[in-house]
């Protein structure tokens, strides 16, 4: 629904926020983004998976292979300490950015 340009800057922040509360695997993260946005935000595997790798290589998330009974092994990602700091900063920036854009778009001329 939203253009890829609009979504590009928020992918990492969305992934970090979704693994903040508990570890999740890649497919679950994609489904959760779609569900919580009521279908307005979708990130395909070719976008989401490289993002997960980048975040892991930066040390913001950490993957761990888990095998549940009757299921195949999946890599669950959790937020690291560094990742929490980054997410907090990104969240603050995002709120400030949205506020600023809204002020510009909704404000009247002087």
């Amino acid at each position: 629904m939203f253009s890829s340009e609009l979504k590009k800057g928020s992918t990492e922040m969305l992934v970090l926020s979704l693994v903040e509360s508990r570890p999740r695997h890649g497919y679950e993260i994609g489904k959760l983004i779609e569900a919580r946005s009521n279908g307005r935000l979708t990130f395909a595997l070719p976008t989401l998976y490289p993002t997960l790798l980048r975040l892991e290589n930066r040390g913001w998330i950490k993957g761990r292979w888990v095998e549940k009974p009757g299921e195949r092994q999946r890599c669950f990602y959790r937020l690291t300490l560094e990742g929490r700091k980054v997410l907090a900063a990104q969240r603050e920036n995002w709120h400030a950015y949205v506020l600023a854009v809204n002020q510009v778009m909704d404000g009247s001329d002087a």
Partner: protein, 251 residues
Amino acid sequence: MRDWDAFVRARVRLPGLTPVREARIVKELAAQLEDCYRDALARGASDAEADTHALRQVGDWDQLSQDVWLADRRHARPAIERLADRLDSHVPTTKGGTRVMADMLRDTRYAVRQLVKSPGFSLIAILTLALGIGATSAIFSVVNGVLLRPLPYPGADALVRITEIVPQYGQFSVAPASFLDWRRQATSFERMAAFNAISVTFNAADGPERVSAAAVSWDLFDLQTTPPVLGRGFTEGEDLPLKNNVVVISH
């Protein structure tokens, strides 16, 4: 159900990554595609529909491979290993004359891999080899120049150097009187000449200068059958006192 691991392994191209890293990525991508397939089944799709739905998640495997490689390049294998792989991919599998080359390339690749696995040992081995080769080359150069290479004179194999042995002191230079006696009395030698390395002070235009020289008997150049390039050598008697103010300059 499709073997998603084999499906992904056949399509994803990550030649620069370590095998362990590549296996992990294949496993994870396969897990996500299988999750997508099972999710579609759970929502009531048929096996074929669920399979198609999962397949549609990745449209361009080359682009995905490139994006994954860019995101994960810190796990890339050393450049020399990738070079060894490229060499190996060009090794012909045919028999015959190319077999030797193929085996050599394969052995080279194996050697490179082993060296890369143990960089510390490889460095020490290379330094030791370099030191050994360098030392051997230096020693050979000296031996070649001093012992093996002939002197630049005609009949050099007939040239001998005679020294005097003093029982109490060992090897000595020949005393001038002994030289004169030997030259007069010896029958085993065609000719004898004397040579004594000295240093002299040369009064150059810009000040005195210490110069390496040699005091020689008049017939040294005749013995060596090597006349000077320019001018003349010594004549008989020019090695006697009051007549010995003649020099031959070397270059």
